[in-house]
């Protein structure tokens, strides 16, 4: 049985030019991910993370399972394969590391689970999610020093600006690593996103890979009913970005897309991945609508969900 708990090797972080390696027939750039899992392993980790998510929101009868489940494969890819980082000791400044920012902070469950499973803090702390005196706030927060979080989010629309600023600091510091940021698609209604998009293109912030969780859902319904985003590729291209598309719920397609995105960096344009996901992915009754954006499963629903996600449960918290 594959061990899922994180193995933190004392990796030396190389901050030098991008290297190319080939693993599992994929070309991996700048490969200093501390876990560097195979696709099979990633799938198991993703199942584990999804179980964490439904358990966490069930335990407090609040939180956001829909987007969390939809973005699980993306988070698992970043933290267990793609990003260069050092989980411990956590360094707020992140020099010599890739950085990740979550703008759509409501999907904190997936981030917390992945951070714990990747070695930033202990898995058992997941049980404190949304409870009083916890470091695992409803939306990501830095106040109590939770390892892995560099800025608070939850009020939508702010994360891209923060990520662009962090990317510019990396340039000032001659740090070659990359900055990643995830946003929701409903979140793109916020004008600040477009301010940041315009700024990043004008200033050639090309060490940045932004991703939109294109699940076509937001709270009040489908994005195209609430406030249609229409042709997002055309919008971001008109705003001066290099735009890629990806399937966010299929590692075989997502990993190459993330590698493509890396390759697209350094070319004078910020990079945007429009990532198709399904809200609630992995739990059939949570899929296909906006209903599970912010609703927790009851006991019975939890059991069904866990069965559907039962690749193996050895290390569940």
């Amino acid at each position: 049985m594959v061990k899922l708990l994180p193995q933190i090797n004392n990796l030396t972080i190389h901050n030098s030019a991008i290297k190319e390696l080939t693993i599992n027939n994929l070309t991996i750039l700048n490969n200093v991910n501390p876990h560097n899992k195979s696709i099979e392993e990633l799938k198991e980790i993703a199942a584990q993370v999804r179980r964490d998510i439904v358990r966490m929101v069930h335990a407090v009868n609040s939180g956001h399972p829909g987007g969390s489940l939809g973005c699980t494969d993306y988070f698992v890819s970043l933290y267990f394969r793609v990003m260069n980082y050092k989980p411990s000791p956590f360094n707020m400044d992140g020099e010599g590391e890739d950085l990740f920012f979550l703008s759509n902070g409501h999907i904190s469950p997936v981030w917390y689970s992945v951070l714990a499973r990747a070695g930033f803090f202990e898995v058992k702390e997941l049980a404190t999610f949304r409870k009083i005196n916890s470091r695992l706030q409803g939306h990501p927060a830095t106040e109590e020093g939770l390892e892995g979080i560099r800025v608070a989010s939850g009020s939508l629309g702010q994360g891209l600006s923060v990520a662009v600023g962090a990317a510019q600091t990396k340039k000032l510091n001659k740090d070659n690593n990359l900055v990643y940021v995830l946003m929701g698609d409903g979140e793109l209604g916020e004008g600040q996103v477009w301010e940041a998009a315009m700024y990043a293109a004008h200033n050639k912030v090309d060490n940045l890979i932004a991703t939109v969780d294109r699940n076509y859902q937001q709270i009040d319904g489908g994005t195209e009913e609430v406030l249609s985003l229409g042709d997002l590729r055309a919008k971001f291209e008109a705003f001066g970005w290099h735009v890629l598309e990806a399937d966010g719920n299929n590692f075989e397609l997502l990993l190459p897309a993330l590698e493509d995105a890396k390759r697209a960096t350094g070319n004078g344009k910020p990079v945007m991945i429009l990532m198709d996901t399904e809200m609630g992915f992995g739990v059939d009754f949570m899929m296909g609508s906006h209903k599970w954006h912010g609703v927790a499963p009851n006991d019975e629903q939890l059991e069904i969900a866990l069965q559907q996600l039962a690749v193996q449960q050895a290390s569940d918290y």
Binding site: V60, S62, G63, G105, R130, K131, I132, N133, S134, L136, Q137, G138, H139, A141, E143, A152, S153, G154, S155, L156, G157, G186, E187, G189, E190, G191, Q218, I219, D220, V226, L227
Partner: protein, 317 residues
């Protein structure tokens, strides 16, 4: 101490939803706007019955405020709905210029104010909204205490010409004020006449003030309890009359101490009738995730805190 009875706990936001629905039926100029939180704001009944007068704005609160200002031109009475944080801090400059300075007849209706929002945590728990809105010239600021009063206030503000900030909350709280009350903007409501200490409470703290009144009565302290549902314009006369009698005051609110009802009272007293004052509110810190009760306890907004403050302020006479 007078008895206050309630048969049911109900959320104040549902009082808003009920009031808005009634307004839809009685005033054809009332229109409603919402920024992707229709269910949370209890605006769905209005949306369903008056789809042509309901405007789904998506996640773009700044635009919502501008739209609302524009809709007044031609005679509409727009009610905007989103969480209190996104109703104020997110859009302060838009409210300031396009609504308050422009004297537009917009009703800014704000839910999930304060700590009792609960598990979502500090990014959503605005404790500064009253402070912001009361600084705006031309703005009326109202924070009713229960379902019935919120419903009555919602209906009343449609009759009032000019911008209004109406604040309410998420949790179910005792619904004890009369269903048939007439809501008079700017007129404090005397709940219990007393002689030893004046307790001025607003919003969710009104019920706690009543509970505190009972506990104080057991200790032989006769508290005068006043419901300050309108923070601006403040009912100076009622407050000064009460304080003239009791010679000491406790204020209680779900807000930062800075900028809230307590500061308005401190200013009124310092300029007219210097009097010992104790303030119940959040003391310059952000909130966090937790249940409403846990948070009110942890941040010093409980019934017992009011009791202790009353005893303290009496001893300072």
């Amino acid at each position: 101490m007078k008895e206050f009875k309630y048969t049911e706990k109900k959320d104040t936001r549902s009082g808003f939803g009920a009031g808005l629905l009634e307004l839809g039926r009685t005033n054809e100029n009332v229109v409603a706007l919402c920024a992707d939180l229709t269910g949370s704001l209890k605006m769905d009944a209005f949306e369903k019955e008056f789809p042509e007068r309901f405007f789904q704005v998506g996640i773009a609160e700044a635009n919502m405020m501008g739209l609302a200002a524009g809709m007044t031109i031609g005679g509409k009475i727009p009610f905007t709905g989103t969480f209190a944080n996104f109703s104020t801090g997110r859009v302060y400059d838009q409210i300031r210029q396009s609504i308050a300075y422009s004297g537009k007849n917009v009703k800014i209706c704000a839910s999930h104010a304060g700590l009792t929002l609960g598990e979502d945590g500090a990014t959503h728990q605005i404790l500064e909204d009253v402070g912001m809105m009361k600084m705006l010239p031309h703005m009326t600021v109202i924070n009713p205490c229960d379902f019935n009063q919120t419903k009555a206030a919602t209906i009343a503000i449609a009759e009032h010409e000019g911008p209004v900030y109406l604040r309410f909350g998420r949790p179910a709280v005792p619904n004890f004020t009369p269903a048939d009350q007439k809501f008079e903007i700017g007129k404090a409501v005397m709940l219990n006449e007393g002689t030893d200490v004046t307790i001025l409470a607003t919003g969710h703290l009104v019920w706690k003030a009543i509970e505190a009144g009972h506990k104080l009565a057991e200790k032989g302290i006769n508290a005068e309890i006043i419901n300050i549902h309108t923070i601006k314009p403040l009912d100076d006369e009622a407050i000064l009359a009460s304080v003239g009698k009791t010679k000491c005051v406790v204020t209680a609110e779900e807000h930062q101490l800075n900028g809230g009802l307590g500061d308005s009272v401190a200013q009124l007293l310092g300029r007219n009738l210097p009097t010992p004052l104790e303030m119940i509110g959040v003391n310059d810190s952000f909130g966090e995730s937790g249940t409403p009760d846990q948070l009110m306890e942890k941040y010093g907004l409980s019934t017992d805190n009011i009791v202790a403050a009353a005893e303290r302020v009496i001893s300072r006479k």
